[in-house]
């Protein structure tokens, strides 16, 4: 019994570690890059956004899990309404988080959180994480762990890019490469490191 509990814990731990590193949303699948570019160099916004992203990803994932298994899996036209189902889940999670934030967060934090919440609730990171979890056949607990770990992996990518930007700022760089091009090249370097770790690319 003890060994089976340990093996379950190990499996979930590996899943989380995979979501943060090898299957990092930004570095392996280029998901959420637009949001990352907005958050670089703003620690406060990044913290709030990351917390909201983790909560919204988890809630959306749980809801989509039930919708998929109860309805979409055996529905002939599922591929047409899959995004609509996902948007419904994101919308419900958005409304839940909005209500919780208004009622339980402090005034300053609530104002900032509500400003950032639409971006945190509707983005490719959540869509990519939920769709990937479904495609991989995760059960409910695995989906929750993968969602939280993906949000954490996204935050890690933001912090790494912020640090890289700080180092690049002082460099003598051609004008054409300042801003987005240099950030993308920096992400390419990090993505290559992940590719070197896994030794293969991911199927779509």
């Amino acid at each position: 019994m003890f060994s089976s509990v340990l093996s379950i814990i190990a499996r979930y731990f590996l899943l989380a570690a995979t979501a943060i590193t090898v299957e990092n949303a930004v570095l392996s699948r280029a998901v959420g890059v637009s949001r990352l570019l907005d958050l670089v160099d703003d620690t406060y916004d990044t913290t709030i956004f990351s917390i909201l992203l983790g909560v919204c990803t988890t809630l959306s994932g749980v809801m989509y899990y039930f919708i998929y298994h109860l309805f979409l899996a055996n529905f002939r036209y599922a591929s047409y309404i899959r995004p609509l189902s996902l948007v419904v889940c994101m919308s419900v999670s958005y409304l839940i988080v909005m209500l919780l934030t208004k009622n339980f967060a402090s005034h300053n934090n609530a104002a900032k959180a509500l400003e950032v919440l639409p971006l945190a609730a509707f983005n490719c990171t959540i869509a990519g994480t939920v769709l990937l979890s479904t495609k991989s056949g995760f059960d409910l607990i695995e989906m929750i762990i993968f969602g939280i770990a993906s949000a954490f992996g996204f935050t890690l990518a933001v912090l790494m890019v912020s640090e890289g930007q700080r180092k690049l700022l002082g460099r003598d760089m051609p004008a054409a490469f300042r801003g987005l091009p240099s950030t993308l090249l920096y992400l390419a370097g990090l993505a290559m490191a992940v590719y070197g770790l896994t030794g293969h690319t991911f199927s779509l």
Binding site: R29, V33, P83, L119, F122, A188, T201
Partner: protein, 215 residues
């Protein structure tokens, strides 16, 4: 209104604002829709699928958003845009299956993911209502700019990685398999972004010098 004035009468700022393909390219300058471009546009065929889906959704969602969004409370604009986009996805997915004989799932999670991409739902952040004519022109330009970039990236990646164009062999003499990975996608898009940034700066300098000459 900028669209009715002669090009010489428009201020440089108006000309820069209207330049969606070059100065305000949604992918290479503003950094939107990078997920499908960097990770999914591995071949020209995939790129065409993503381009047509994305362009259809961008076009119809932006026009519908221009009509509906200004009437919606700010807190629910992003939600409204996401729903508009999800509904616009249905006919786009139908077109592939019935007219292009392509299975949309071949591009994996990136096709349904376009529904909540910033290039589509970013319209939610603009509160003003544009005239319908201008809205159509802007939507078309945005859709064209996105399609151009993704097809160019797909074409180059297939050529460099597999030495093929739409599955047909081309003799290049070398292959660079790095461009078949996400890292290679980042590198290629970064180089194109640098090119567009340089061209955009030259264009701005040229337009500003034109104005100075007229003054």
């Amino acid at each position: 209104m900028a669209g009715n004035k002669s090009r010489l009468v428009r201020t440089p700022e108006e000309r820069f604002r209207n330049s969606i393909f070059l100065v305000n390219n949604p992918v290479l300058i503003e950094g939107l829709a990078l997920a499908p471009v960097v990770a999914a546009a591995l071949t020209l065929r995939y790129a065409i699928v993503l381009a047509i889906t994305g362009a259809t959704m961008i076009f119809f969602t932006r026009i519908a958003g221009n009509i509906i969004i200004p009437s919606v409370a700010p807190r629910f604009r992003m939600l409204t845009m996401a729903f508009l986009s999800a509904f616009a996805y249905i006919p786009a997915a139908y077109i592939f299956r019935h007219y292009f004989a392509l299975d949309a799932t071949n591009v994996g999670i990136y096709l349904p993911m376009i529904v909540v991409d910033g290039i589509i739902i970013s319209r939610a952040s603009q509160s003003g209502r544009e005239k319908i004519g201008r809205s159509v022109v802007v939507a078309f330009k945005t859709a064209f700019a996105y399609s151009f970039v993704i097809i160019l990236v797909g074409f180059l990646r297939e050529l460099l990685t597999y030495n093929t164009i739409y599955g047909l062999s081309v003799h290049l003499g070398f292959k660079m398999s790095i461009f078949g990975t996400t890292a290679g996608g980042y590198i290629l898009v970064a180089l194109l972004a640098a090119l567009f940034q340089a061209l955009s700066s030259d264009y701005k300098r040229y337009v500003s010098s034109e104005v100075m000459r007229d003054v």
